[in-house]
Amino acid sequence: MNNDKQAIFIKAKSILIDLFELDDAVIVPEARLYEDLDIDSIDAVDLLIDLKKEVDVEISPEQFKAARTLGDVVDIFAELS
């Protein structure tokens, strides 16, 4: 992961721990949002709001919906920032 993505990943990790009380150990790029992190579509709304506060980009819910893993989320944000 390049530096930009790494920075985004670290911010995302902190948000995930805050919002979902997840264990540090399970938050890896390969983690699937729904199956591994138990983040459903209702949760995703709040996750997107907090991510946008940290990484100031224009991103629509539809673009965000395409993300399956944490790595996908980081990629999407990195591309748009």
Binding site: D18, D40, S41, I42, D46, L47
Partner: protein
């Protein structure tokens, strides 16, 4: 011989019940379409329709009792009697007819229903005209919250489907999602049957010998602030509230089985 006759009767009685339910639902659908056509306010029409559903459900469980399929004890505070308007009724889900019992105890309540019922030939007219909410609609939380704000109460089964044993209580977060966003109180209802009947996966005609006794009771109204820390992020509240409800039900079940009179507790036969 007597046992065989009883079993045959149970199957016949079950067939009568299912048929009555199907025909009843169709007839209700027709009646509701007629009511819907009347030039009355939406609220009034919906209240009539829900009242009809209530009467029908009460009649249906009485029919099942008359046919010897079950006995029941309903001790549910109707949502009309709950001071705060707009509460969420949650219940565990052991049997096929759980919703019927709760509707028999409430004159005016909305329900979160399985998406499949929305398009089912027998139930679609009823669920749509009664102002129920399909759980696969992507706005179902918003719709539910809005109804609660208008004073409607809503029934939801947090397990989402029938459990396979009482303590399973695999509560999903749907009920908590709605409760937290709407800041609405929760009226918990406990449903138990002895022996367990009309379970998931069983054949339709599989009725316990001698029928089953259903107990449906409501507990104290739960206000969010007394269950969880509402200053935490919403997503955390969803999870805490769901866990709280599961613990609440586990304790409730444990207390209830303590109340079982001795002759109802199965004691294995002593083999000499």
């Amino acid at each position: 011989m007597l046992i065989r006759l009883r079993r045959v009767w149970a199957v016949i009685a079950a067939a009568i019940s299912y048929t009555t339910f199907g025909i009843g639902a169709l007839l209700l659908g027709l009646v509701f379409r007629l009511i819907d056509w009347l030039p009355l306010s939406l609220t009034k029409k919906q209240r009539w329709i829900r009242h009809c559903i209530h009467i029908s459900c009460l009649s249906f469980i009485n029919l099942m009792r008359f046919l010897g399929l079950l006995t029941y004890q309903l001790s549910v505070t109707s949502t009309d009697k709950v001071k705060e308007s707009g509460c969420i009724v949650v219940a565990n889900h052991p049997s096929l007819i759980d919703a019927v019992f709760i509707l028999a105890a409430n004159k005016n309540i909305s329900c979160i229903v399985k998406g499949a019922l929305w398009n089912n030939f027998f139930t679609s007219a009823v669920v749509k005209l009664a102002g129920y909410i399909p759980n696969d609609s992507k706005d179902f939380i918003e719709i539910a919250v809005e109804k609660l704000r208008m004073g409607d109460s809503i029934l939801i089964f947090p397990e989402g489907t029938r459990n396979t044993y009482n303590e399973q209580l695999d509560f999903r977060r749907g009920a908590a999602n709605i409760a937290v966003v709407a800041n609405a109180p929760i009226l918990p209802v406990l449903i138990t049957s002895n022996p367990r009947a009309l379970q998931k996966g069983e054949k339709w005609y599989s009725i316990p010998d001698g029928g089953s006794h259903f107990s449906i009771q409501s507990g104290d109204l739960l206000n969010l602030t007394s269950c969880i820390d509402v200053t935490r992020p919403r997503t955390v509240q969803y999870r805490h509230l769901t866990r709280y409800l599961k613990k609440h039900y586990l304790a409730w079940l444990a207390n209830t089985s303590c109340d079982k009179p001795k002759h109802e507790i199965n004691i294995p036969n002593q083999v000499i």
